[in-house]
């Protein structure tokens, strides 16, 4: 079953990204560390959503419902950040 092989590769990639984020936390500090750990977390979430949570098999409506939430969360976070960034 080739699906089992695909899912196994995704699992291996997820564990690889876990080791990468752990290693990056010893190598980087400050904003670079935050950017690296968030980028790796987004990559892991993308793998889980795309393969484990079936987004690659679904149509546009379900993908929109799944990713629309992430888009809203980005908007809320940006507005919150703008508030804290602009405070005197």
């Amino acid at each position: 079953m080739s699906l089992v092989r695909t899912l196994s590769l995704v699992w291996a990639a997820l564990l690889g990204l876990l080791l990468l984020t752990l290693g990056a936390s010893f190598a980087l500090t400050g904003p670079a560390s935050l950017a690296a750990s968030l980028a790796i977390a987004v990559a892991k979430a993308a793998l889980i959503y795309w393969f484990f949570m079936h987004l690659r098999e679904e149509g546009g409506l379900v993908r929109l419902a799944a990713l629309g939430v992430a888009a809203w969360l980005v908007i809320f976070t940006l507005l919150t950040s703008a508030d804290y960034a602009m405070r005197p």
Binding site: L3, L22, S25, T29, V69
Partner: protein
């Protein structure tokens, strides 16, 4: 396979019923994401306001227990993904076994988390439980409050997931959930489990890996 799916009112075909089920589950997960989104917003604002103290507090957490637990959760998600694949192929026993394995890994996660909490209680770092508490300053106290709220909220979701998967596996094994006729039940329970995994994928770097 579609003609073997149990069709319910008001859907006209299996594909439409499947899409509606996935859409409903994703909308529910959206509300869950908003709940955790508020917690993440507070974590990032606290880090932005007190970068040095936030990093110092983060370094006191048990980073390798957290890493091990991340690996345990990713592996449990892999088991659930396999369970859905086998449920779709009408391999009911295998699917039930994989769901039990995933729930077992969930219990390993909760056990390690409880062990980590007891370490923090002895270190005087866990709010509410450490007596006497021993924080180096108000930001560390705030950080550990956030840590306790975020990880315990996640642990509650894990507990619900373990009960959900165990109950589902039990019903499949007893023949109460014909597969693939009612595979939507396995798919949607799987979505919930993967979502709780994704939350931890973000909690781990946000709390444990601030440097």
């Amino acid at each position: 396979m579609s003609e073997r799916i149990e069709l319910h009112e008001p859907f006209s075909d299996a594909a439409q019923q499947h899409e509606a089920g996935m859409l409903g589950m994703y909308v529910f997960l959206g509300t869950e994401m908003m709940l955790f989104g508020g917690v993440f917003a507070v974590i990032f604002v606290t880090r932005a306001l007190h970068p040095a103290e936030f990093v110092a507090a983060s370094q006191k957490l048990h980073v390798f227990i957290g890493a091990l637990n991340t690996g345990v959760l990713l592996t449990s998600s892999f088991a659930v993904a396999l369970a859905v694949a086998f449920a779709r192929a009408a391999r009911a026993r295998l699917a039930a076994g994989l769901l039990v394995a995933a729930a077992g890994l969930g219990l390993v996660f909760l056990g390690l988390k409880a062990f980590e909490y007891t370490l923090e209680i002895h270190e005087g770092l866990l709010p509410l439980f450490s007596r006497p508490a021993n924080f180096s300053g108000p930001v560390e106290h705030l950080f550990m409050n956030l840590y306790l709220v975020a990880t315990s909220l996640h642990a509650i979701h894990m507990t619900i997931g373990v009960v959900l998967l165990t109950g589902l596996a039990w019903r499949i094994a007893r023949g109460g959930v014909p597969l693939p006729g009612r595979v939507a039940l396995v798919e949607n329970s799987g979505l919930y489990w993967h979502f709780v995994d994704v939350i931890w994928v973000f909690l781990y770097p946000a709390l444990y890996l601030a440097r």
